[in-house]
Symmetry: C2
């Protein structure tokens, strides 16, 4: 199913990857426009007018409305195409998935982002996304790496006895967590410690899903 | 309407206030339990078992499911009591409100939190919420205050010609922004600059709503 919307993206980057995996699980296709963030195209006039934070992914709807936040995009896609459900199947499940996804983002993704953006030479005055320069803080890079270590332990404990993050069903929380773990492995060189067996098993299981293996 | 759920809260703190204002706008009442975060009760055995991050607000559902994230709580309450709608009235509006609220949280609330938690003597090893100690980074406190200044300017520009943040209808985004602006005024002593007229007008308008004026 091809939708009449435009997705501005850079598939190698972590946040856009959340959307690509979500679309793959839904079996949806959207017309794509590549914004070369390595060349700084997100700050150029053409794109920056659409995006509050100069970031990809960005979904432009038919009426010109631009959505630049990953979960707002996923939630919108779920509304217009409910099957298969990736945000939970009833009010309680939706609340649990919402809760989990937010926890992943604040405690996992932001930790890796702090570790990455405050350390990489190419992002010297770009420690935060957005139109204004923000200098790096080396101490924050170190805090990010440390907090990501805590996060992996918490994630491992959560996954004990569970097939997926929310329980017995695959959800967007699994996509978000997979993207974070894979980003951390190259972005801050933090791989899953061997003793975190639940996390390792889940990572192998989710990475092997046909939709994910072919999309990645 | 009294719902058979439990809300663990500390009404003076910013995140719980989001829920109290949301409930007031909905005309809903939920049984409340005060967790004295000034006395460290959120780390005590009774509460910490329910809360991943040792934070309030926390909504405990009838089946024991615990939701500890403000927007997951609001979204659940909206599902079980849709009127008046506070998360948008159709898929496009819901996406816009979702997008805005996330932007407010990441760029406004986190900036004030960084400014506050990394500077207040009482939070010396509590620069982040959660069960583990995280030392303060003075440079991050300063970055938080600077980024909050940028945020107020962006918010002012967004509010030009608009009655509410999402346009002509009141939404949870107005609640979140109000809580952030009020928290910043005492938490990091950052008041709205006189030249930001749209923001000042909106703040006066929203604070004067009967539901909000009587709840605050």
């Amino acid at each position: 199913m091809i939708m009449a919307m435009k997705l501005f993206t850079y598939p190698q980057a972590p946040s856009p990857r959340r959307i690509h995996l979500f679309l793959a699980e839904k079996g949806m296709e959207i017309e794509q426009y590549i914004v070369d963030i390595r060349a700084g195209e997100q700050h150029g006039e053409g794109f920056a007018g659409k995006s509050r934070q100069h970031t990809v992914p960005l979904l432009e709807l038919d009426d010109g409305t631009c959505l630049g936040e990953s979960m707002a995009i996923c939630r919108y896609l779920e509304e217009i195409q409910p099957d298969p459900p990736l945000l939970g199947r009833d009010a309680r499940e939706r609340a649990v998935v919402n809760e989990l996804d937010h926890w992943l983002e604040i405690n996992g993704l932001l930790a890796v982002m702090d570790g990455f953006r405050n350390a990489v030479p190419g992002l010297k005055d770009r420690a935060l996304p957005g139109p204004r320069p923000v200098p790096q803080i080396p101490e924050l890079a170190e805090r990010g790496r440390r907090c990501y270590g805590y996060f992996m332990h918490d994630l491992d404990r959560l996954l004990a006895g569970r097939e997926f993050l929310a329980g017995d069903y695959f959800s967007v929380a699994d996509i978000t967590a997979l993207v974070i773990v894979d980003f951390a492995s190259w972005g801050i060189k933090a791989r899953i410690p061997i003793e975190l067996q639940h996390l390792s098993d889940w990572h192998r299981r989710v990475s092997a899903r046909p939709t994910i293996a072919t999309c990645s």
